[in-house]
Symmetry: C2
Subunit: 123 residues, 2 copies
């Protein structure tokens, strides 16, 4: 997504359950040196994980940031979780960039997508 | 949260799994008349659902909006899903406010919270 800033914004679609998602909610510190570069690198890396399905991100200016990553199964998510470069970025995040964060890892049981031109219920 | 706009922003904490979450990602239309009032009413209503745990929200200006609602169990979420006033708001949302949206309902298996002053792994 960072590679295509000109693309129209759209939510990640609904997939056929079951699949996994990781909700990462955070409030950042004032010291964001290196953050943008690391974040771009993480977006690049995660796309190489087999079973990675996509990511939604929103940030209220000066407020909460919410990122949701979608994965085909628990193995795909575990591979991302244990990636060495990702773990190093997490350590730096705790040391420098995040005032606080919460991670929720969950198995999707039901999903639904709507758009003005089409809609699809998957379960 | 809309009742306390002056409160410091913080992510909803990690709860003891299992619990449920609903990720709602959306892109809005240009016609948002009535949206703010309805949204405030929904925030008021959802807090009355037994088993409602909290909500995270972020919106990138002009871009994606991500809302994550947390519930103690599937029954609590079902009660919210079938609430008559909520369903009416959903219908109006599809007719007027949303260009597109996706809903993912998932059962949380693992969660973790970090803050500068404390951190806690719940599973």
């Amino acid at each position: 997504m960072s590679d295509h800033p000109e693309a129209p914004v759209a939510p990640v679609p609904a997939f056929e359950p079951p699949y996994y998602l990781a909700v990462f909610t955070s409030v950042k510190t004032q010291d964001l040196s290196g953050y943008r570069e690391t974040n771009a690198r993480m977006e690049e890396l995660v796309q190489k994980i087999p079973g990675y399905l996509g990511m939604d991100h929103a940030q209220t200016p000066g407020g909460l940031s919410v990122t949701v990553g979608y994965f085909r199964d628990a193995d795909a998510l575990a591979e991302w979780r244990t990636d060495a470069e990702h773990r190093a970025a997490q350590r730096r995040g705790r040391a420098e960039w995040y005032e606080s964060y919460t991670l929720h890892v969950a198995k999707v049981e039901r999903s639904y997508a709507f758009s003005r031109t089409e809609s699809a219920e998957t379960a």
